[in-house]
Amino acid sequence: MDFNDTPEEAAFRAKARAWLDANAKRKTDDKQAYRARVDDPELLKRAKEWQDKKAAAGYARITWPVEYGGMGGTQIQQVIYSQEEANYLVPLGFFDIGLGMCIPTMMAYASKEHLTRYVKPALHGDEVWCQLFSEPVAGSDVAGIRTRAERDGDDWVINGQKVWTSGAHYCDYGIVITRTNPDVPKHQGLTMFFLSMKSPGVEVRPIRQISGAANFNEVFFTNVRVPDSQRLGKVGDGWKVALTTLMNERLAVGTPSGGLDVDELLDLARETELEDGPAIRNAHVRSKIADWYVQTQGLKYTKYRTLTSLSKGQTPGPESSIGKIVAAPKMQDLGAFAMELMGTGGVMTGDVPGAGGFQAQWIGGAGFRIAGGTDEILRNIVAERVLGLPQDVRVDKDVPFSALGKAK
């Protein structure tokens, strides 16, 4: 057992580091972050520039085949590169959904011409992609979507509404799941397309989240025409196509989690005087710190175990769901506890010294427990796919979508 790279991994790491040194600015300490507001228009421009540089060197998608602009490398190389990149001040985060989920789905289902046209611009950051799946009544139950696509000559006409679409306000293209046949059970009547977000009839409205920021959007489709050539997979096969996209979501391992954690809580407890003395001397506080420390370390070493299997060429399975099951409630609870230590002052956010961070964790944790699969869905995944328990009862399984009640 050791945490060291194999000689091949070490060589790759050195190569990646040398390239990063030549092209980016190294952080002077761990906590330093690329400071910019998400809604700063300059930020997207700088992110695109960085993406272009990376793509030119092959680092934008290391595991992709060389013909698509990748390096033909391994998952562990991708992780090593991400670990190294995290030490540099570079703008990230705009291309994960497109390159992690949309383009891999395109690669599985789009025509050669389309791939020639779209993959390279996406890889270089010239065009940004989003994923249009969730709807107001279809969150965890993605197959319950209502957005319709109806055939009209060589085109399809899309009407309906999507929600929680990350980045739709700056995206150029998207993959969209629609219902093309409401008279069969819900999983059978779906069809997937890709479309330009600039198509007439597409309207994007940002959603202001509980944190006040607006990273997500509602997207409305009013008679949006999409040529049949932009269909991904067969008519009625949309669920199968969507699963390709969702499977790729799970490969997103190795990214640094960041945020305030036990170290910062320890600091806060040291600096805080309670009625019975310093908070750090309070047994209740110490017990909480111990519990969260054990969780934080447990997750860190779980990640190392995953990296080990990647390093051996294995693919991580549904086991990796445990990360979010533990980390998201911890963010929420640890944030709330830190605010409690601050007493009445814990209500303050903004520019008060020492405030802000834990409050942001507490607010953000609420969303993190839902995004990318709720706690409840992830527990189902563990129970069903790891422990082999029966699937939840699905009363809508054999019922045509059109016959399902409104309340569904």
Partner: protein
């Protein structure tokens, strides 16, 4: 990155697992739990033939000279099967104490016999239902004679010798030392004490002028005990993880078999989520324990923090899995007939043996403070 056991270590694990599945099924645990034996002698003998007790003992003393990682994989399997044998007492505690602080003569006398399983050792630290501390140790060693009593001593009836935490005079921690005493000699009385897990017998040892010799430096007993506990915390954690995983699969198998309201109970989300939570706790504990194992094996500077985190995590996983296993079994799980009781009993025994979660959380945070201050 290679944060996993080696193929050889995994082979050893499989070998021990196969042996225990064959020779130590739950009916053996039940026999010891319910009967007069101190332990399952035939399982002990079989483990000796596999070389399990000598795993970490140097070859010069009859062991196989492997390391802590090999002991960890064995521990996991012993925990999985709830093996009713004095392995923890003899190997993680007594053997470890001798290897760390034994004189040449002490090592020559005991290690070869510990390695082949012909001798059993134990550690006697407590004196009744209170945590041992420099203020509570009354047993005293003076002029080579030991007096006082120790309880509960794990495997105290079966053991040939005990490493005893004694008072040798002085104040505070410096008042304590370790002593080695043969239990078959004059001046030693032993009797069984009832515990929550009778599959692992405990005894009261009464000493009245028993012959004893110091182990390690006088006045260093408290430090040595804590060092010993750090090593044992990691090894016991693997027993806890093996046990927790076994309890989890037991619950899962029952949830597939048992029908209620016309469905397998395992199809109800209330049961599924309970089992998923067991899995999450087991995996967190496993990850922490891997790091603990690495630190123990490498004698890493981070062992004190890692051992405490490992122990807190493993106690949590086994406690949860064992109690929710009974809950999943419903009324059936609360019967003498069901096997669920073995893990419930064992989980508490292992949670308390070298100090409970409250004490170890405190150790963890004070060690974190020291580490951050350094």
């Amino acid at each position: 990155m290679n944060f996993d056991f080696s193929d050889d270590q995994k082979m050893l694990k499989d070998q021990v697992r196969k042996f225990l599945t064959d020779k130590c099924p739950m009916k053996v645990v039940r026999r010891v739990l319910d009967g007069p034996e101190t332990h399952a002698a035939e399982v002990w003998k079989g483990l000796a033939e596999l070389g399990a007790m000598g795993t970490a003992i140097p070859e010069a003393y009859g062991g196989s000279g492997l390391g802590a990682l090999e002991l960890c994989v064995i521990a996991e399997e012993l925990g999985r099967s709830c093996a009713p044998v004095p392995f923890a007492s003899s190997v993680y505690l007594a053997t470890e104490a001798l290897m760390r602080w034994g004189s040449d003569a002490q090592k020559k006398t005991w290690l070869p016999r510990l390695a082949d399983g012909s001798a059993i050792g134990t550690l006697a630290a407590g004196e009744g239902p209170k945590p041992a501390s420099p203020r509570t140790v009354r047993a005293a060693l003076s002029g080579g004679k030991l007096s006082g009593e120790k309880l509960p001593v794990p495997d105290g009836e079966a053991a040939d010798f005990a490493v005893v935490l004694v008072n040798t005079g002085g104040a505070g921690e410096r008042a304590l030392s370790l002593a080695l005493v043969e239990l078959a000699g004059a001046g030693v009385k032993r009797e069984r004490v009832a515990t929550v897990d009778p599959a692992r017998k405990h005894a009261r040892l009464a000493f009245d002028g028993a012959k004893a010799e110091p182990l390690g430096a006088e006045g260093d007993g408290w430090r040595m005990l804590n060092e010993l506990y750090d090593a044992a915390a990691v090894l016991i954690a693997f027993e806890q993880i093996g046990g927790a995983e076994a309890a989890m699969w037991m619950a899962r198998d029952y949830a597939l078999q048992r029908y209620a309201f016309g469905r397998q109970i395992g199809s109800y989300q209330a049961i599924k989520h309970k089992l998923a939570d067991m899995y999450v706790k087991v995996e967190l504990a496993r990850s922490n324990a891997y790091y603990g194992a690495m630190m123990l094996n490498d004698r890493g500077a981070d062992l004190p923090v890692a051992a405490a985190a490992t122990r807190v995590s493993a106690i949590d996983a086994y406690d949860f899995a064992a109690k929710e296993n009974i809950q999943t079994h419903g009324g059936m799980g609360f019967t003498w007939e069901a096997d669920t009781q073995f893990h419930y009993r064992r989980s508490r025994l292992l949670a308390l043996g070298i100090g409970g979660p409250m004490a170890w959380k405190e150790k963890l945070v004070s060690r974190l403070e020291q580490k951050n201050a350094a």
